[in-house]
Symmetry: C2
Subunit: 550 residues, 2 copies
């Protein structure tokens, strides 16, 4: 399976059914064979007396067009054909009959022969029944500059929005038609695709990237070979701006960036940035999208619509609508920036920090211990991980040694000392262990500062380390030595007893063959048997060093 | 070029820049190297005194997560890392400092080691600075049921919405954290993909379709080979519902359908229909999406999140937000249907319709003319089209003949006669010509009914035919004979003079080698030289027949 479809023949009805199930719509009984969706709250005898009903539709395969644009302030209803095929005259006529009240009905039609004829005949038949019906034909595609019949593409969605807004304002039918026709003259669209659309059940055709291809896979104006997103955007924007300049249309623009099908959110974001950069942000009042507005199945491409902006247009396009497919109008402005506050806590690390000789000596002993342990820890780690646990611990120790020598650590105040060590470990030790130990010291420092209880502070540090790291006791990590040691201290035991608890905990990791966290998690169980976890070993050695000082 | 990217290294900053340009945000100065976006209207000294600031973030490549969820009622800000890589501690800390007021700050973090550690250390450092910070870790992925650390995926977006809503309600930090944790226990998510994500600049890896793969392309739980969209949805729903049943969670569900990257709108529509059908519409209170909520670059896949619904949750998720990426919560209901009104106009076609002998004879003469013309018209058409113009005209004539014989056409009243002929041509003649002639007769019938002027009605019919058909005089179509004939009648000339005008117009088409509309548009110019357009020829013959009757 290449794509998420069921039978090709059921695609359209499945899509419309999902829409009708999750939006306040009425859908024509399936037995009728007609694909008509209407606002559930529309009553032609009520709103229809004052408000023009706006209908649109056409072939399927362009979703969210057109059913996704049904809602207050946009379409009253939509008529869908089969994939890439116009709906029948009967379907359009039935829709008109369903929605058209005294105020009349406007049909918004894309400029394709089938749509023009079928909507046209339905309009004439409705008129013959005494209904007031007008039609606006949208022909925004500038791909074929000499064509007497430019195609209607993504710009059609803007016409839905404009006319839906005007209808809600109770603008008369003739006036809406005039406004819509004037609006159509202010815009142009152009698309390009790297890959064409594939009909459900069929493979993607082998075609070169093309500029100006239609939303039914009609061939493009020419093959292109853009090198990157900027080049692709330039290929679209140059002829589009030329075509609009020929019509004396100019900035400021409302720009629409339409996902023709299967572009990722990230590609569309890159294209949006490129569009804004190439147009110049001061030339763009608003951006619509990036979003799928008028798609062509899974075509891997995009289209740009430029609309010469004015205040009335902005009001209409910016008005609220309940239509789920409308992505909204977003003002484009040079981004506001702010200066990120990245200062280190200077109370914790400072020049000429106060010193306490006993604490300095204790720290030096720990540092020496870790220097001497490097080789043994690396060896243990080589059997369960990537063999750098000792080097990593030593790099943390050296960072502390350096700050100690420079008298940048306040060894006279434990809260500041802990916080300062936390900062050093985060910045200079690296790896998950560096961040985890930094969390331990940072949390302990903050706790000590706020509550002044050393053992409780250490316990809190360990608790946070465990919470963020996600390891549990028995997972073969530092925690297997740390937790017993800190528990001992909390029970009021001596540093020597805590060191013994750490040592026991470390030794016990050699019997653990299940590793759910940390580096050992990726090693077969047999390889872990009899091997003490290097992190736990380091913790035991540090506590032993502390006990000697104490 | 396979995808719309520029340099792989610039993708994230381009995307974020586009977001910052089109949403009311502040972005950290680019020189800082930190990717932080904050609500422009957020002031920690103001709202931040009463409202908790909600931050989220993580690796990039999941857009619209997380920057697209910034807005009133959702995130206060977001911190982005590089593609699939956690942001730094410094970036998270700077964001906390920027937004955290007296009410505190909540971090919503997806359950990945890097995110947990970096957000965790930043939270501890912020606490050390006296800021109130709490964290919620989202772990909604049920793909690995025995994992002690389930991944956070699309469900995270629901937590953004819930916590953003609660924050706006001025709920205290601790309470929001509790509510969010309880909320997380009510949901689960599972994804599948046909093709994995490709890093910018790299090709798509060759991998089988997989169930339960992560949003960073982590391997799935197993390879799968669904035959269609329904099967794919079933593969996802079964383990997901099992996992939720194990936690004693049950319907009614809020269901989320997330586009993991490059699924088309149509595929997502088919999947939405399948999801609703398989869950059972009465088991689903609301659907969120289908939409890209938490993507994985261009992964061709989807995920489903099921959340056990209750009224408080619906209130929170349904509350308005200005975040552009939030697709909204849509109630799921069995579709309302209506009975489409497809009746024919019975005044125009009826049993025992009134008859006028003169008109019947005229019609019979026209029918005979078209029968006799069939071969000649087909021959002309063979030189410029597909050779069936005569057959097509005759089929229209036979439809009229049949209705005439059955006395179903009201020949005693021209408006009804025209309208009836219009209906017959639309239904039985087929092709563009059938619709175009139907438009002519339908519009003329309506005009005649309303204004009673035959020649004006014919002119109006021709004008409509031209408007909808899009052909202009000189385009080698029926219009080249019709327009001169109808113009002659409008000038008060006789039917004979009109017939002569039609004949002259038809003859002139033999000199036209440019064809912009109709079937001749696809034929080389040289082939058209000296060939009368078959449509124009038919019109001329019909007028000649009418002139004989008159």
């Amino acid at each position: 399976m290449e794509r998420f479809y069921n039978a090709p023949d059921t695609v359209v009805d499945e899509i419309l059914n999902a829409v009708a199930t999750t939006a306040p719509l009425r859908i024509a009984e399936p037995e009728s064979g007609l694909r008509i969706l209407i606002r559930r709250d529309w009553d032609k005898q009520n709103q229809g007396q004052r408000q023009v009903a706006v209908l649109s539709g056409g072939g399927a395969g362009h979703e969210p067009a057109h059913a996704g644009y049904i809602g207050a302030g946009m379409l009253t209803g939509a008529i869908s054909g089969s994939l890439f095929a116009s709906p029948s005259v009967e379907a359009v006529l039935a829709a008109i009959r369903e929605v058209c009240g005294e105020a009349g009905c406007l049909l918004v039609v894309k400029n394709y022969t089938g749509d023009r004829l079928n909507f046209g005949l339905a309009a004439e038949r409705a008129r013959g029944e005494g209904l007031k019906v007008a039609m606006v034909i949208v022909a925004d595609d500038v791909a074929l500059p000499d064509s007497p019949q430019p195609r209607g593409i993504a710009g059609t969605v803007l016409v839905h929005k404009l006319t839906g807004y005007l209808a809600e304002q109770e603008t008369p039918l003739e006036k809406i038609q005039q406004r819509a026709e004037a609006f159509c003259r202010r815009m142009g669209s152009l698309g390009m695709a790297l890959r064409p659309a594939a009909q459900p059940g069929q493979p993607t055709a082998e075609r070169s990237p093309e500029l100006g291809l239609g939303i039914h896979n009609e061939s493009g104006t020419r093959e292109v070979a853009p090198q990157d997103a900027d080049a692709a955007m330039q290929l679209v924007l140059e002829p589009l701006r030329d075509a609009l300049a020929d019509r004396h249309l100019d900035a400021p623009w409302i720009a629409v960036l339409n996902n023709l099908g299967s572009c990722s959110t990230q590609e569309m974001g890159v294209l949006a940035a490129s569009l804004l950069r190439q147009l110049g942000i001061e030339q763009v009042t608003h951006l619509i999208g990036p979003a799928p507005l008028m798609t062509s199945l899974d075509m891997h491409g995009f289209s740009v619509t430029l609309l010469s902006s004015d205040d009335d247009i902005v009001t209409a396009l910016d008005a609220p609508t309940s239509a789920p497919g409308w992505p909204g109008l977003r003002p484009a402005n040079r981004p506001d920036t702010f200066s990120a506050d990245t200062h280190q806590d200077h109370e914790a690390l400072a020049d000429d920090a106060p010193q306490d000789d006993t604490n300095v000596r204790t720290l030096e002993r720990v540092i020496d211990t870790l220097r001497q342990a490097r080789e043994a820890l690396d060896e243990l780690d080589a059997r369960s991980g990537d063999g750098d646990a000792g080097a990593s611990m030593q790099s943390g120790a050296e960072a502390i040694a350096k700050a100690l020598a420079a008298k940048r650590l306040n060894t006279a105040a434990l809260p500041q000392l802990f916080t300062g060590i936390g900062q050093l470990l985060s910045r200079d030790m690296g790896g998950s262990s560096g961040v985890l130990l930094s969390i331990l010291f940072t949390a302990a420092g903050a706790s000590l500062d706020q509550r002044g209880e050393l053992n409780a502070a250490l316990a809190e540090g360990v608790e946070r380390m465990q919470a963020y790291g996600g390891a549990r006791p028995g997972d073969r990590t530092m925690l297997d030595a740390l937790i017993p040691a800190v528990d001992a201290l909390k029970r009021g035991e001596t540093l020597a007893q805590a060191a013994q608890a750490a040592r026991d905990g470390a030794q016990a990791t050699a019997t653990l063959t299940r590793a759910n966290a940390g580096r050992s998690a990726y090693v077969p169980e047999s390889a872990l048997k009899g091997v003490v976890d290097p992190g736990a070993e380091a913790v035991a050695r540090v506590f032993e060093a502390l006990a000697k000082s104490g």
